[in-house]
Symmetry: C2
Subunit: 558 residues, 2 copies
């Protein structure tokens, strides 16, 4: 059987005009700003007009720790949205935007896969509606204004060695990681060492995704700590007077982008913060808007549930006042086998024992998510190679954990293949059993918050941190940042900080290498291990084969 | 009398839906890709479908050398477009897009002024339809791929000291002019010195503006010389295999942007190359599309006629096969007075003698433009302070030169104030007197082309260039680039290379400091004097006061 590729399926999509998709949600066409005929932004005024309306139910799609076998989290998010619409619920999907730069390194990501995709795929993997370009501009305007301030006399007494605001570019460019700027003499400023991160790593990205509206956005931008004085006093973005102009640059980027699934159901694709040094969820404004417009909102969080769901709950839901009604944990038979010790090359062979051996990774995620007071269902994202015995083993294991695992065939069948999951999600959400609470209270000391995450979510024995790191956390508490939540940055491949430790390890330590204050976004980043904030291109970047074909279609990007 | 500002007038505009503006030109709505309700891109397919249609008449608006008094070239371009529509001609305006970065330094530019403007002004001064962001991405992808090629083994044997391709950003950021990249050890590459230019200075910008279609675009991108080997052999963009992916990034940016004037007439705003190191005109594809859709196309060229019109004729028209039917030279009484030696503070006082003394600057431009075989009319862009005697003096002078000067009040009155000019333009264009020819033939040696421009247009006695520069030009001739036109980069304020020399000087020398090959754009840049390709921010950048007001309008940008 010749299986169609994602892009082939996407190109066959019978897209409806985006105004029609908006009309389904009750958005008048003059409040939809079109970008082409298949993408639109929702106006600020329309969003404001929704204030008094009741909220729909929020469903989180999360996953086991990712493996090279693939788990299909976005595919399941899109499929579940279509499935809910199929069974008569007005459902809206909320996912993140793709970063442009990495697509020119490795083949780019679709938004979903198979018959559970969001379109237009090409545009979403290229400039889309320009949001990331706006973030790049706003970020770099602040950078330019910092150096310009120093150039013209440095009245704020910024210590040039303590500028913590770098520059960004939406490109994989290792040459820009570590640079010296302002060479060439007096008219170019004071030479200093700095660098570029990729745009998705910008604090402006995290801020845009956590802001409720443009006023909140400007306030948070103003709160960014950009540097310290020689007396180690913080210098804020608002001291540089960049917050107003940055808000102007971001005013359109703040508006959620409406697109559609292959089944013509609405999807907001908006924002895309890193899932390590940031919180890895789509924007608060998109989620909140969707909740006003739909009975159900299906959203996802980056990486596995240990990182993604924890941050979704402890950062996004806590700060935005969101109360999820249910969570779906995506797993695959293949990934269970890999967690059970099978190599990728051997995944095609039935191995029920390995499945059973790998299931505790899933089990821990189930328990963790339940710990937040959110009812859980497991979605087994079906692959052709899965055997009945393997699927039965997963189902039996999940039942033992007091949850249900449902086989889902949305990749191959679209919404028809995911009806059972949709029905289960509705029954969980309507049962009213959800009683969401974050993992730790705002007032807990910062280091204790880190320990709480490490022990309760990662099942570690201890957190190891130098005195300088503990002192830094205490310093931030003294400066009024003690109430902030923690944003953990560690490997996504394991509950531990060792990417090779699959399954559900215990007894490990979590070493903290560095802590960073994201005062505008409103969290403390705790870095455990190497985190790359500017990727490089591989030896043969996909850019070498990306081109327009004779039909004007993009080739090589997918 | 309280005079309204440009932005106040722009905000009162009764804009029509952009689909209606497109319909006036016969563009079906499914071939207009909307960006909001007031901007749209015209599809490639529609442009291709126009191939067999006859062309309208092309009118160039150019000007005297700019003075601090202002001449109003874009305002007159827009006003003339409205005026032609008013007298029953189907006219389309073609102008350049604004650069984002400089708007955050000094107050940004409107597109026109008074009652002769193109809207939406805010969007056009911010991200607009994202074209410049796409150019930035395409340019920097090539940069990243060059360093990546060296990182992974440098099989092309690129001499790291001879990489001529820098990076770009649409920002005024002097700290990035001169930098060292790839610091930080083995994994970040080989340290080398380089820098950023502002995006409008990118050769990709010039290429986009000179390309006929996407195939031509990719071919020209491939032709870019990015570096030289240790044996001084050129390394091309296509050797780096970046041309296909760059074309993909630019596929939407290549499509002309349709907007409207305050009087709801169509305007293409597309492309914006520098007028010094590049040719300073809007895109060929916009101009050619407009010529298929309108009876008249009114366009402008950067700076005064010595730089702007010369490059419009010798680069854009020559290469694109365009044949202008008439040219308008914009002058003001105030600028004539400044050319006649009056200081800016004294411009409010009548001074007929100074007007007369300054007129030879205008006279030389008239003669120069006529020299290209294009009939000329002078537009006197009216200011309130102009006296009848001063206006009469300009008219009399122009009549002596065998042309007519027409007083235009489009700034205050819109199209009603510029009917006379519109009628004159029609009579010139329909007289068939135009017989356009470029200044020099393709086959003339490069240095002789420079001398021809300097002597015939600037009225210089000689061109001074070191042997190394003459040798470089000969080297390019030997390498097959001898047929390229010259792109002069000199001060716009004078016919000479001294910005303080107003009027119509003779007997001067033109010293050439540097020559550069823009092999993709297809010209040789000849640099006379300091040319800044990355501006800095002033002491108090306008970004400090730019903000959204309570109505959601942008303040401080204009």
């Amino acid at each position: 059987m010749a299986v169609k590729t994602d892009i082939e399926i996407a190109r066959e999509a019978k897209k409806k005009p985006i105004m029609e998709i908006g009309a389904k949600l009750g958005i008048p066409s003059d409040h939809l700003l079109p970008y082409g005929h298949d993408k639109a932004k929702v106006s600020q005024d329309f969003i404001k007009s929704l204030a008094g309306k009741p909220d729909g139910k929020l469903i989180l799609v999360t996953a086991i720790n990712p493996t090279p076998a693939g788990e299909g989290k976005t595919t399941t998010t899109v499929g579940l949205g279509d499935g809910l619409n199929r069974i008569g619920k007005k459902a809206v999907i909320c996912i993140r935007e793709a970063s442009l730069g990495p697509n020119f390194g490795m083949k780019g990501g679709a938004a979903g896969g198979g018959y559970a995709q969001v379109v237009p795929m090409e545009e979403m993997n290229l400039h889309f509606t320009g949001d990331f370009h706006a973030i790049t501009s706003a970020h770099n305007l602040l950078s330019a204004m910092i150096d310009n301030h120093i150039y013209w006399g440095n009245s704020l007494d910024i210590d040039e060695r303590r500028i913590v605001w770098r520059r960004v570019m939406d490109m994989n460019d290792r040459a820009l990681r570590d640079i010296v700027v302002s060479l060439g003499g007096v008219s170019n400023g004071f030479p200093r060492q700095t660098g570029f991160d990729i745009t998705v790593a910008s604090e402006v990205m995290a801020i845009l995704c956590l802001s409720n509206d443009l006023d909140d956005l400007q306030k948070r931008l103003g709160d960014i700590v950009v540097a310290y004085t020689r007396e180690k006093k913080p210098v804020y973005c608002r001291d540089i007077k960049a917050d107003g102009a940055m808000t102007v640059l971001l005013k359109d980027a703040m508006q959620p982008n409406l697109v559609q699934t292959l089944e013509n159901n609405p999807a907001f694709v908006h924002g895309g913060p890193f899932a390590n040094i940031a919180h890895g969820c789509n924007s608060v404004i998109a989620t909140k808007t969707a909740l006003k417009l739909g009975e159900y909102v299906v959203t996802e969080a980056g990486f596995g549930a240990d990182l993604g769901a924890e941050k979704f709950f402890d950062i996004k839901c806590r700060k935005a006042g969101l109360k999820p009604s249910a969570a779906v944990i995506v797993a695959t038979v293949r990934a269970m086998k890999m967690n059970g010790g099978v190599a990728k090359a051997d995944l095609g062979t039935e191995n029920v024992d390995a499945v059973k051996k790998g299931c505790p990774n899933l089990g821990r995620h189930i328990a963790n998510v339940k710990g937040f007071g959110v009812p859980v269902v497991v979605a087994i994202n079906h692959f052709y190679s899965d055997t009945d015995a393997e699927i039965a083993a997963v189902k039996a294991y999940v039942a033992e954990q007091g949850a249900e695992a449902i086989l889902c065939k949305h990749w191959a069948q679209g919404s028809a293949g995911i009806e059972d999951l949709a029905k289960k999600v509705v029954s969980l959400a309507e049962s009213g059993s959800a009683n969401f609470a974050p993992l730790y209270p705002d007032e807990m000391p910062l280091f204790q918050k880190v320990e709480t995450i490490a022990k309760r979510i990662y099942h570690a024995d201890e957190v190891i941190a130098d005195k300088s790191i503990r002192d830094q956390l205490k310093g931030w508490e003294a400066a009024g940042y003690g109430h902030l939540p923690i944003c953990m940055a560690k490997t996504q491949y394991s509950f531990t900080t060792d990417p090779n430790l699959r399954g559900a390890p215990t007894g490990h330590s979590v070493p903290v290498r560095e802590v960073r204050l994201s005062a505008g976004a409103g969290f403390i980043v705790v870095i455990c291990g190497e985190i790359m904030t500017m990727p490089g291109l591989p030896k043969v970047p996909s850019a070498e084969v990306i081109r327009l074909n004779d039909q004007g279609h993009v080739e090589g990007l997918f």
